[in-house]
Every structure is written in structure tokens, then in C-alpha cells.
Amino acid sequence: MLLLRGGTVFDAALDGAPTGAGTLAGGRRADVLVADGVVRRVAPSLEPDAHPDARLLDVSGCWLGRGFIDLRAHLREPGEEHKETLATGRAAAAAGGFTAVCAMPGTTPVNDQRAVTDLIVDLAGRRPGPHVWPFGAITKGLAGKELSEMAELAEAGCVGVTDDRHPVHAAGLLRRALEYASTFGLVLMQHCEEPGLAAGPYHESPLSTRLGLRGQPREAEDVAVARDLRLAELAGASLHVAHVSSAGSVALLREAKARGVRVTADVSPHHLTMTEDALLGGGRVGYEPLAKVLPPLREARDREALVEGLADGTLDCVASDHAPHTRLDKDAELDAAAFGISSLETTLSQVASLVSAGELPAARAMDALGDAPARVLGKPTGLVGQGDLTVVDPAHRWTPTAETLRSKGKNTPLLGTPLTGAARLTIVDGAVVYDAVAR
């Protein structure tokens, strides 16, 4: 039994507010009692004397909300255990405040069949920690040709399907995939990119032109988003657009949502807080592999549009897009370096930085990490009656270093950068799986 006293609770249901994208219930000062594996009570004041068995924790100054769910993380197991394992990935997730993490299917072998899902669920279930909710592949081998056995994937525990960083390019196939996935209650998550417009992996701009890097314009994403929205309407199925990176995509999603299209979207912490200038690594001419990521970091006006889209709920969620790599994969000339940023442990700090900068209301930040991804997956929202809870200390100062990061992936441009805001407690099924103070 746990009694969390003095925090600020964010739960739209408690305010009687309607739940849904863009919910902006304010936080309220309340105490929270966790017992029998679930949140039993949330009240303005709960006296310790009335709960003598409860472990008392002072969380004044902290934000409490439904346990954070990461919709998109590359946990690398099976197959690339030198980059990350389910154990190290879950430890990183817990330290990052996540009570559940969705494992992307781009493993070796690909999670395109029940046996692989079974293995992941089995490995993750052996030790306490954040839930691992796998995403299966849309197509066998992520090859974009034949549908995977989605009914079995769902039975085995997959919560959705995606071809990871491979967009499903054939329009007819995507239509059928949307129809088939929705038959079995699976969310379909798509990386939106038109390959014909992507001459290279970097943002097409004056900067990439100057550095001689092959780029892709914003429109490589925009035209794919526009097409996929139409296909979702045709299929009558819901679509989740992963890691939105361009201002144009935000506008398309806003318009589609206003029209009633069943679409949700997420944005990564790096696209919310960085621009292509990170490639310069602080110099005039630079080629910083730690800033190499897909979709590419873009320009200030994209970043501003993404933050605005997150604030108004056009972008439902923040997903880490955690992509751990070894030094060998990243320490190379830029074209040879692997894609991605190790971000499970910094996502919360990056979102908190938007709140402290006045760019994002705290309630929306908590929703974007907690209730919003729960809605995308059809999982329970709110605090009362369920066991996953995240407590954030928005004032905690820390600096990510290779030694302190729990992930095997030390590949983040934030290494050595002082950050503010971190998880204070991560509680899964009523049990503390991460305690920043006890550490």
C-alpha cells in the first residue's frame, strides 16, 4: 500500500471533463492511495492515520498522472542484444517514467509471427518492470508484399501493427492492411514517407544543400500523410501516424481530424526540441551522427508547428522513438552512421522543457504521455481503478551521461547536457519499479 501526498494530479475524468484528443483538464492538488495493485482513492486530503499500513511518500511539487505509455521504442531483442535487451530497455523505460513501452517489430527475426511475439512477451514477463506491448509487422519481413498473420499476433499480445521505419508504399496493400488490422482490433501505425521524393535521409534545406547532403523535402512526408488519410477513410479504419516531422503534416492532420477522420499521431521528443542545426554539432561545418534520425530533424518553423500541434491535440502523443545503438554503429562518417537517438530516458525532460518554456500546458504534456497513448491503444485511461501511475518531479535537475543511462544506447546529442524534469516514481500494477530518491 502506498500513500502519495502533496502532489498535483492530472486526470481529466476527475474533473468531469470529456476525454479525448486535446483534453486540457488542469492539475489539482490531491493525495493518492494505491492498494491491492490499483489506485483506490484520489482525494484532496488523505490522512496517514486512516491508512496505517501504507508507505507514506511525500510528492509535493510533483505531477501525478496515468502511467506513461511509449508508443514507439526499438528494444532490439531478439537479434540485436548488443544494442539493447528487453531488460535494459525496460530499465531505461522505468527511469524515463514509462509504465508501458511498445516494442517495434524491426527485430531479427522480425516480429511478424506469433512465435516471435510469444518470445518477447515471455522474456518481458520474467521480471517486474514496465509492460512490454509489442507491435507486430504489417507485412511479412517488413517487405511490403504480404500481410502478416495479424489475428494470431493479436492473440499473442500485439497491440498494433507497423512496418517500423518502412512505409507501406503500395496503396492497395495499405488499404487492405487497414481493413484487416481493424478487424482484429489492432492499431495500424505508419511511417509516412514517399520514397520517390526522398533522394536522401536528411532534410532538404539550405543547410543540407550547403553541407552537400542528400535530402528529402517536407513534402516527402506530407504527400504520404495526405494519401494515407484518404486510405484510412476508404478503409473505415483508424490510422496512427508515427513521428510527425513537418509543418505540412500537422496542417493535414488538423484538417482531417476536423473532418472526423479516425486518425491519431505522435511526435518524437527530438523533433519537438531540436532542428537540423543539431547536425552541425555546434560548428559552422559539422556532420554530427548523433543527430542523424528518421524522419530528419527539420527547421524552426516545423518545430514550432509540431509544438503547436501537440498543444492543441492535433498530435495526440509524444513517443520516444527510442533507437539505441552501439558506439560502433554511430561513430562513423555521417552517411555510414546508423539512424536514431536513444531517448527513453530523456523524453520526459524534453517534454518538461516545453512546459517550462511556456510552449505546452502541463496538463497536455501529461495527457500526451499518459491518457492519449492509452486512448490510441484502447487501454484504460485516468487514475482510479488501474495500477499504472507516473510521478514526475518537474524541477529535478540531472545530466545524462554514458555511465548513468540505463539503456545500452548512449547515442543521444543530449549526453552531458543539463536537463530539468524527470520521473520521481514509476509505478506498475501498484508496485514501484523506479524510485528516483531511493536510487
Binding site: E204, S205, P206, L207, S208, T209, R210, L211, G212, L213, R214, P217, R284, V285, G286, Y287, L328, D331, A332, E333, L334, D335, A336
Partner: protein, 319 residues
């Protein structure tokens, strides 16, 4: 030649000031005569080692660097991909470390990835010279072009220079644009829109023309860039024939340029495509002067980096 060179490496033009460029060109002037002597060798870099590390096929640039080193009495070694451990999958990091253990003074690198020389400079204790990286930079080409222009025109300042052709894929165009803008040149880019990046004018502060004639109007210098066959399969050009008709340089098309306008080409030329054969061999052409200047400019760069004038390289990260 008394002022020390302020840079440990030559990685791009962007890092240089006009004074740096003038210093390199003046040094090249002083060394130019060496290649015309009966005994084409000076002892300046005796005991120094230069490794030419070429990840892309190159005949003229590699030969030019090799001769430059040899004429300064440096020991020059060529390492190219076809005959090296690179074919066995060695990373650039491991190649850097392996070569470093052999104590070179300068590594000259050509690589298909933009920024690769910057990576090498971070990981080795010696000086690094960029001999062409991806689509990014080819600083010694821009310097030898500047040397050739200055010899012909007496100055670089304020000249009207047209650069014609496949600017999108050209590190030569990028380095030349950067260098010429340092000296206030009116740089005009001409080519079909498929071969000129959308953001090029903004990125390099130059003018872009969709026709050859206005770009060549009153020009002092006209540079042609090589058109590669693969641009056809990338749907950037319909045919070499149509390119030659619309953007190929010829004596007729140069009618609007200054009477004494010079014609340049970084080579190797596709005669009949980007440049008319008669123009290439005619009195306006300085193509072979460029080649001769190349050796002198590369001698200057090696001398400034490895000779007594050189600044010490900063060394690898964490060293």
C-alpha cells in the same frame, strides 16, 4: 612565406578567410616555377610523409597530389579502395587508427560521403586535406581555379563568373561558389532546374539562371561542370543531346561574354556534351592551365600544413 598558416587542416573553403586564400595562392605562385625547372624537386618537406587515401576513383587529383608531394621531397604513399582493407569492410575509424600508427604528417582523403574528411580530422593526430567529399567540398579544386583566374585576370575581386551545369551533385561548384563570393564575385549559376538545388541560391548567396545566355552576359569567367550519364536514369535529364543543345558551352553561346572571357572545366570533359570540342581546345580555354596550377596549389597546401609554417593539428577527440 613567413606568416604561419592558421589552420591544421584544409577541409573546406567555409573555414577560410580571404587572407587565408591569398596566402595559399601567393605560396602557390612562389612554388609554381619548381614544376618548370629541369630538376623539379625542392627539399622542403624531406622526411615528411603524405598518405593519399582515395575512396573514389580519381586519376588527375591523385596524380596531382602525388606529384605535389614528391616535388617537395615528401614521401608519398597512395592507398585506394580497390587494393586496400577497405574492401574487406574496415571502418573509416579503424583505417584512421591504422594509418595513424604509421605516423603520417598529412592524410589527403577523397571520399564519397560528405563530411568524411571532417571525421578523419577528428580521429587522427595529423593534418588532413580534403581532396573531395561527396557533394560537399573540393577545396583544392576551388583554390587552383582561383589561382588560374587570378593569373589570367590579375585579380579575383568583383569578377563575373558563370558556373554551368550539374551544380546539384557538384562539390566543385560548391567550393568555387564559396571561394568566389569571399572575393565579392558576381557568381551566376546556370542549368536546368533539375540540376540546381532549390535552396542553392540562398545557401551560397549566388544568382541562379534558367538560361545560359543571361548568365554568360558580360562574364569574365565561364566554368562548365561535368554531366554524368547516370543523371538520365535519375530522371534529371532527358538526353545528353538535349543538354548539349540547351546548356552546352560553345563559341557562339559565349558571344555575350567579355571578349577576353576564359573557359574552365575541372575535368574530365565530355566533349560535345557540356563543352564544344573546339571551345575546349580554343584560345579561351584554360583547362590545361588549371591542371598545371593544380600541382602548384597542392604543393602550397602541403607546404603550409606540414612545413615550418604549419599550425599543429589539434589531434583526436579525448587525446
Amino acid at each position: 612565406m613567413t606568416r604561419p598558416f592558421r589552420h591544421p587542416h584544409l577541409l573546406d573553403i567555409t573555414s577560410l578567410t580571404t587572407e587565408d586564400v591569398v596566402q595559399i595562392l601567393d605560396t602557390a605562385e612562389a612554388l609554381f616555377e619548381v614544376s618548370r625547372r629541369p630538376v623539379r624537386k625542392v627539399p622542403t618537406l624531406r622526411g615528411k610523409t603524405v598518405i593519399n587515401l582515395f575512396y573514389e576513383a580519381s586519376t588527375r587529383t591523385r596524380t596531382s597530389f602525388e606529384l605535389a608531394g614528391k616535388r617537395l621531397s615528401a614521401d608519398t604513399v597512395n592507398m585506394s579502395t580497390a587494393s586496400s582493407s577497405v574492401k574487406k569492410g574496415e571502418s573509416l575509424y579503424d583505417t584512421c587508427k591504422t594509418l595513424e600508427a604509421m605516423h603520417p604528417d598529412i592524410v589527403v582523403i577523397r571520399h564519397g560521403a560528405s563530411g568524411a574528411p571532417h571525421y578523419v580530422a577528428k580521429n587522427m593526430r595529423c593534418s588532413v586535406v580534403n581532396a573531395g567529399d561527396g557533394m560537399h567540398a573540393h577545396p583544392t579544386q576551388a583554390l587552383l581555379d582561383a589561382f588560374t583566374i587570378r593569373r589570367s585576370k590579375g585579380t579575383l575581386a568583383g569578377l563575373k563568373v558563370a558556373i554551368c551545369g550539374d551544380v546539384a551533385h557538384s562539390r566543385v561548384a560548391r567550393s568555387n561558389a564559396r571561394l568566389l563570393r569571399l572575393f565579392g564575385c558576381d557568381v551566376r549559376i546556370a542549368g536546368p532546374r533539375t540540376l540546381v538545388p532549390k535552396h542553392f541560391a540562398e545557401a551560397f548567396d549566388v544568382s541562379v539562371y534558367e538560361r545560359l545566355e543571361p548568365a554568360l552576359d558580360d562574364a569574365d569567367v565561364v566554368m562548365a561542370l561535368r554531366i554524368q550519364q547516370e543523371r538520365l536514369s535519375q530522371a534529371l535529364l532527358p538526353s545528353l543531346r538535349e543538354y548539349a543543345r540547351t546548356f552546352g558551352l560553345s563559341e557562339d553561346r559565349l558571344a555575350g561574354a567579355k571578349d577576353d572571357a576564359i573557359v574552365m572545366h575541372p575535368g574530365p570533359m565530355n566533349r560535345g556534351v557540356e563543352i564544344d570540342p573546339e571551345l575546349a581546345d580554343g584560345p579561351r580555354s584554360v583547362v590545361l592551365d588549371q591542371v598545371e596550377a593544380g600541382v602548384a596549389v597542392r604543393m602550397a597546401v602541403l607546404y603550409l600544413l606540414a612545413g615550418d609554417a604549419g599550425a599543429a593539428p589539434t589531434g583526436p577527440r579525448g587525446a
